[in-house]
């Protein structure tokens, strides 16, 4: 019974949220959601579609043509050239795209290399597909950078893909162009796919340049790139994103996408159109706020430097501090913090073995919540 699901776990982040919900005054800095609402221009686009009566029917399986055309235009601005008719699929959030991709490119028993610490749900999807996650640690002392020799060592004849998140969750690292190009060469040498989850690509807080291997024409038959509207446009509840790759891969992923969801929710596809048509200004507005909140978080962590050290993130809305004193088991630390202060954060081990001894703070929540959470943490650590 339940052979397929027996090794799957509910995400640790959701377990923490569940525990936190028992306290009426809890402050959650755990789950990856911001405290902003979806921008008004997106809601108005949806309202217009609802009033026209165009949201009740399925769309084509790869998504509304007008949305895919907008996606192609938006990709071209980032130096990525993909045919909206054959190389772009609108997905039900990025997790559905990830699932469809992994089910498409792997056979049971295959291995997928994951640089870690990284997003918790990757390994569950890999397990669901009957494959094995092979973790390769990122180097914290080098700002959570890739170390190519580690990948070379991890590659076996069962390796199918390298799956990374750029900018990375939970470390907020933007991988450099050189690091990524080296990874691309490695994938070519060993005939591997590269799955790039770029969900945080719009969160850039300094002059770091965002580069994607999907820009490299020689790699277009290897790179599958995913994006979600959830984070950048505060649309986590709408469940809409997209993936793109060469036609030869996308036509196969489309079959699985069709099996899983038929099409992404049409009403959310109209919301995504609103985001691409009119949401640019809102991203700028959110980023200004996130920088303020990042500064608050870093200032407060600096005051606790005998307890924590951290690498300042270039992107995302997460900081991933290392526990320097007291209880270093991340689960025990997080449990105790929640119990004593009612502040929820995520244990680092949730993001892979190399995340042990750390915890993740989501600074996308309100300034008031951040300040109150740190006040409570200060008292707890005294």
């Amino acid at each position: 019974m339940f052979e397929r699901t027996k090794n799957l776990n509910l995400s640790i982040i959701k377990q923490i949220e569940l525990k936190a919900s028992k306290y009426f005054d809890s402050i959650s800095l755990a789950q990856g959601i911001a405290d902003f609402d979806t921008p008004g221009c997106i809601k108005r686009r949806v309202e217009k579609a609802l009033n026209r009566g165009v949201t009740a029917k399925y769309s084509l399986s790869p998504g509304l043509p007008e949305l895919r055309e907008l996606i192609e235009i938006s990709l071209a601005k980032e130096n990525m050239f993909y045919d909206w008719q054959k190389e772009i699929i609108v997905t039900a959030g990025s997790i559905e795209g990830i699932t469809a991709t992994i089910l498409t490119i792997t056979n049971p028993g295959d291995e997928i290399i994951i640089p870690e610490p990284t997003y918790t749900s990757y390994r569950e999807v890999i397990t669901l597909a009957g494959c094995k996650s092979v973790f390769v640690p990122l180097n914290e002392s080098k700002g959570w950078a890739f170390e190519l020799e580690q990948y070379e060592k991890a590659i076996t004849d069962k390796t199918k893909a390298i799956f990374y998140c750029n900018p990375n969750n939970p470390t907020g690292t933007i991988y450099t162009k050189d690091q990524l190009l080296d990874l691309g060469k490695l994938a070519e040498k060993h005939d591997l796919f590269l799955i790039s989850d770029d969900v945080y690509k719009d969160f850039i807080y300094d002059d770091t340049e965002m580069f994607s291997l999907a820009e490299v024409s020689e790699l277009r038959k290897r790179v599958i790139r995913l994006f979600s509207f959830s984070k950048a446009y505060c649309m986590t509840g709408w469940r809409v994103g997209y993936l793109h790759s060469d036609e030869s891969i996308v036509k196969e992923i489309l079959k699985v996408h069709d099996c899983l969801v038929t099409c992404a929710p049409v009403i959310s596809q109209y919301a995504a159109m609103g985001a691409l048509e009119m949401g640019e200004g809102d991203i700028e507005r959110f980023n200004k706020e996130y920088v303020k909140r990042l500064n608050i978080t870093c200032d407060r962590l600096d005051k606790l430097k005998e307890h924590f050290s951290y690498v300042r993130p270039n992107s995302s809305y997460y900081v991933f501090p290392k526990i320097e004193s007291g209880e270093k088991n991340s689960w025990k630390f997080v449990d105790s913090l929640l119990e004593k202060t009612h502040v929820a954060v995520v244990p680092g081990v949730a993001f892979g073995p190399n995340g042990e001894g750390h915890f993740r703070i989501n600074f996308g929540r309100s300034e008031q919540d951040l300040i109150e959470a740190f006040d409570r943490m200060d008292s707890y650590l005294k």
């Binding site: 008004g40 008719q85 190389e87």
Partner: protein, 247 residues
Amino acid sequence: MKKIFTYTLKYILKYTSKLVLLIHRPRIIVVAGSVNKTFVKERVRDVLKKRGYSVRANSKNFNTEIGLPLAILNLPSAYSSYVGWLKIIFKAIGRIFQFKFPKYLVLELGVSDRGDMKYLLSIVKPSVVIITDITKRYMEGFRDLNCLLDEYKYLVNKISSDGLVILNNDNNKILEVLKNFKAKKITYGIEKQSDWQAIEINKNKDGQSVKILNNNIINNYDINRFGEHHVYAFLVELAIQKNINKI
């Protein structure tokens, strides 16, 4: 209140745009159709630029009753900000007094309801019309395809005999409905014999290599984009380039 504001805004933007166009008299090329307007617009804008003409195209997809005047006046949208729109109105009026204006405007026209084309053509008088494709998939506020086609019929019939209508030849419905107009017709396509026809397309890692037939001469080109829609856009670019002196 919102309705009154929108109506006033539309009115001011429309008549300011008309006045600006009357003063500067640019040549207007419009791109209409259900799909591929943006890519065609960019190709046309770029070929005119390459030839050294001053040209401007709609930024983003500003192609509706509010968006089109903004494109003409080269102003951004204020989206949901009333204060922002008040600033736009002042800037729009200021545009009447500007000295510099491009010789060419390349404008997308978007229709989503009956009568939209009539409204848009009450603002602009194009000398060149490019129709990309018309499909049933983008009906939005139209009851049926014939109602949608009526909008395009209205558009091509508004072009005078010294104008140019560039049509996608692969769409039967376009040819069937859009036939009796005064302007000179140029066709382009992939599947059917056309004035500008892509007779062979090969995909490569950098885009597509295409063989194009025009006037019994075949030429080879490389397009650094993927997808047939870019081939269509490129055919339009060639047609415009060849007829640039007549525009």
